[in-house]
């Protein structure tokens, strides 16, 4: 899915450290986001995601270490960095008393864009984010999802080549989330480099080319989603039979080559531990050659959830946030 332009790093974090008093929020984080790709920064509450993004976007000064955005050093050339990137923070940063259109105009003018350009681009952004009808209403009358979309639209007004999104879909319902993913994919297709933080493993899996997992301010794993899943250990073969009556016979057969298995009668499904594709083929052949009709056969890799559990020893605690945090404000407060 990546574009051809892989010329260089759009974002680099170089041994970033941030201390608040004696609390070390970020403790030596390094990573690289190649141009035109998506990096998912994944971690539980308080891992240091927001702090990392705030340092890279020049909102916060690192205690030590540095970073580069579009080739500009975040400490030496903060203004050049600000010209090259857009940011959608964790807490919605739209101005509630301004209308959607005025929010775009405010940020457009302060970004140094011409009036004509702002006017045209505002219209197309409002349309793209389905806000045209609400464009002249105060943002405080918007729903959480609309605010999030406006926030993102505002970040795009100057067409930044690098975009930082801090938990862009927290507080959105599943449908708005999928829609937002679509928009983000579109941006990447047009060449934008994306760094997004998320607590949703599923989200990182869907959107990111590379994932950096942080916990307690440290990088604990990095790689492609597939790579990370492989790290978490064994995959399993999932076999769905056509008739439940065949389950017993199939289990006997499979047990001969993979003793650890699990049967779900209702769905006529057998899950057996496997090392990879070779095992899957072996099991598939075994069952088929004995004449048992099979509906479906597949290899299931561990989910990022499993990866997380494996890496940190605890589960990511967040997956239900999506439904119960409707308030963008509360979503922005960290403990």
């Amino acid at each position: 899915m990546n574009q051809v332009r892989m010329s260089g790093a759009a974002v680099e974090a170089i041994d970033l450290v941030k201390r608040f008093g004696d609390n070390t929020a970020v403790d030596g984080v390094s990573f690289v986001v190649p141009e035109g790709t998506v990096l998912g920064l994944l971690g539980p509450n308080g891992a240091g995601k927001t702090t990392t993004v705030r340092m890279l976007t020049t909102l916060s000064v690192p205690t030590s270490g540095t970073g580069r955005v579009a080739g500009h050093d975040i400490i030496q050339e903060p203004d050049a960095v600000r010209r090259s990137m857009g940011l959608t923070g964790q807490a919605a940063t739209v101005d509630e008393l301004l209308t959607g259109r005025e929010n775009l105009r405010l940020i457009g003018r302060l970004s140094g864009l011409s009036r004509g350009y702002i006017r045209e681009t505002s219209e197309s952004l409002l349309e793209r984010f389905d806000l045209t009808a609400a464009a002249d209403r105060m943002a405080k009358t918007y729903s959480g999802g609309m605010r999030r979309r406006l926030d993102l639209a505002v970040s795009l007004i100057a067409a930044p080549p690098v975009l930082f999104l801090d938990e862009p879909t927290t507080g959105l319902d599943p449908r708005s989330r999928t829609e937002l993913w679509e928009v983000l994919r579109g941006l990447v297709r047009d060449g934008t480099t994306l760094l997004l933080t998320t607590q949703y493993l599923e989200e990182a899996d869907h959107l990111a080319d590379d994932i950096v997992v942080i916990d307690k301010g440290r990088v604990i794993a990095a790689g492609t989603p597939t790579h990370l899943k492989d790290q978490a250990g064994a995959a399993s073969v999932v076999l769905t039979l056509t008739h439940a009556a065949d389950l017993g016979r199939a289990v006997e057969l499979i047990r001969s080559c993979s003793p650890e298995l699990h049967v779900e009668e209702a769905s006529r499904r057998i899950t057996a531990q496997a090392d990879g594709l070779a095992d899957m083929t072996r099991i598939g052949n075994l069952v088929e050659s004995s004449g048992i009709p099979v509906d479906d056969l597949g290899l299931k890799r561990p989910s990022l959830d499993d990866v997380f559990l494996h890496l940190t020893g605890h589960r990511a605690e967040s997956t239900d946030d999506a439904t119960d945090t409707a308030e963008p404000e509360t979503a922005g407060v960290s403990a």
Binding site: L59, G89, A91, L97, E102, L110, S111, G112, A159
Partner: protein
């Protein structure tokens, strides 16, 4: 769909004055959309004028004029001082909401967030002064020393208000919650505006209190306005030195306070901007 990403627009980062103008534009929209913000400087001030004029007015003796004329300059000064509380609350509110974060991520001088606010607050306070002036005229207050001195007094009010606004910006940059700002500012503002010649002459105060009151910058400003508008007599011969030269002292205080508070505010805001 337009391919936004492939063609980047021309970006000419705004200068400090241009960014300031934009921030002022934004803050003025706030004043318009949140009329309760105006209540502080309009309805409340009018209420103060009427309460003092009619409730206390009969029983407070003032030399050389009636109480209403004496009161009006004092109450205008009080409004200017209280404007610092309003600006502080507005700024803290912005900081809490995250909009300042957004502004900080843009290629503008961060000072424009503050300079913009100082100017919009001054406009906000001017509206209050205008409303009070109109109320005053209705109940019998007059400008008696001609146009030039009259305008001069208004400019003096705004100059001092500007200093107070920077005090407010400083406090707003230091404090974390609107409630804390409100608590702090009102604790400071009430003694500052009442231990003065704003609502009653200082002559009858106990001598230690009179000393404080007469050296209070608020008193010099009030006395300056009274003299420029011709609302009462010059300060008595035994009044402290600042009241003998009120215009000069008020101008000096305004400049000195601005010169102190503006850098403090900017550095507090910068420091806060670091994390």
């Amino acid at each position: 769909m337009t391919t936004l990403q492939t063609t980047r627009p021309v970006i000419a980062p705004p200068s400090l004055p241009r960014a300031t103008v934009t921030v002022v534009w934004r803050n003025l929209i706030h004043i318009r959309r949140m009329p309760e913000m105006l209540l502080d400087v309009t309805v409340q001030s009018v209420m103060f004028v009427l309460l003092f004029a009619y409730v206390f007015g009969g029983s407070i003796e003032v030399p050389g004029t009636n109480y209403k004329e004496f009161l009006l300059p004092g109450i205008m000064v009080q409004t200017m001082v209280f404007s610092s509380a309003i600006v502080a609350m507005g700024l803290t509110n912005d900081l809490q909401k995250g909009i300042v974060d957004r502004l900080k991520s843009l290629p503008i001088s961060r000072a424009s967030v503050l300079t913009g606010r100082s100017i919009s607050s001054l406009i906000h306070s001017s509206i209050g002064v205008a409303v009070m002036g109109a109320t005053g005229l209705l109940i019998g207050w007059r400008i008696r020393n001609g146009f030039v001195d009259g305008v001069l007094a208004f400019l003096l009010l705004l100059l001092f208000g500007f200093a107070m606004i920077w005090l407010g910006i400083w406090v707003g940059s230091l404090m974390r919650t609107v409630e804390a700002v409100q608590g702090f500012m009102f604790t400071v503002m009430f003694p500052l505006t009442f231990v003065a010649n704003t609502f009653a002459p200082t002559e009858k105060m106990p001598s230690w209190l009179r000393f404080i009151a007469e050296w209070n910058p608020v008193s010099a400003l009030t006395q300056a306005c009274r003299e420029l508008w011709g609302n009462g007599l010059p300060a008595p011969a035994d009044a402290a030195w600042p009241l003998q030269h009120p215009v000069l002292v008020a101008v000096t205080w305004s400049i000195v306070l601005t010169a102190v508070f503006a850098p403090l505010a900017l550095s507090a805001f910068r420091r806060r901007s670091r994390d």
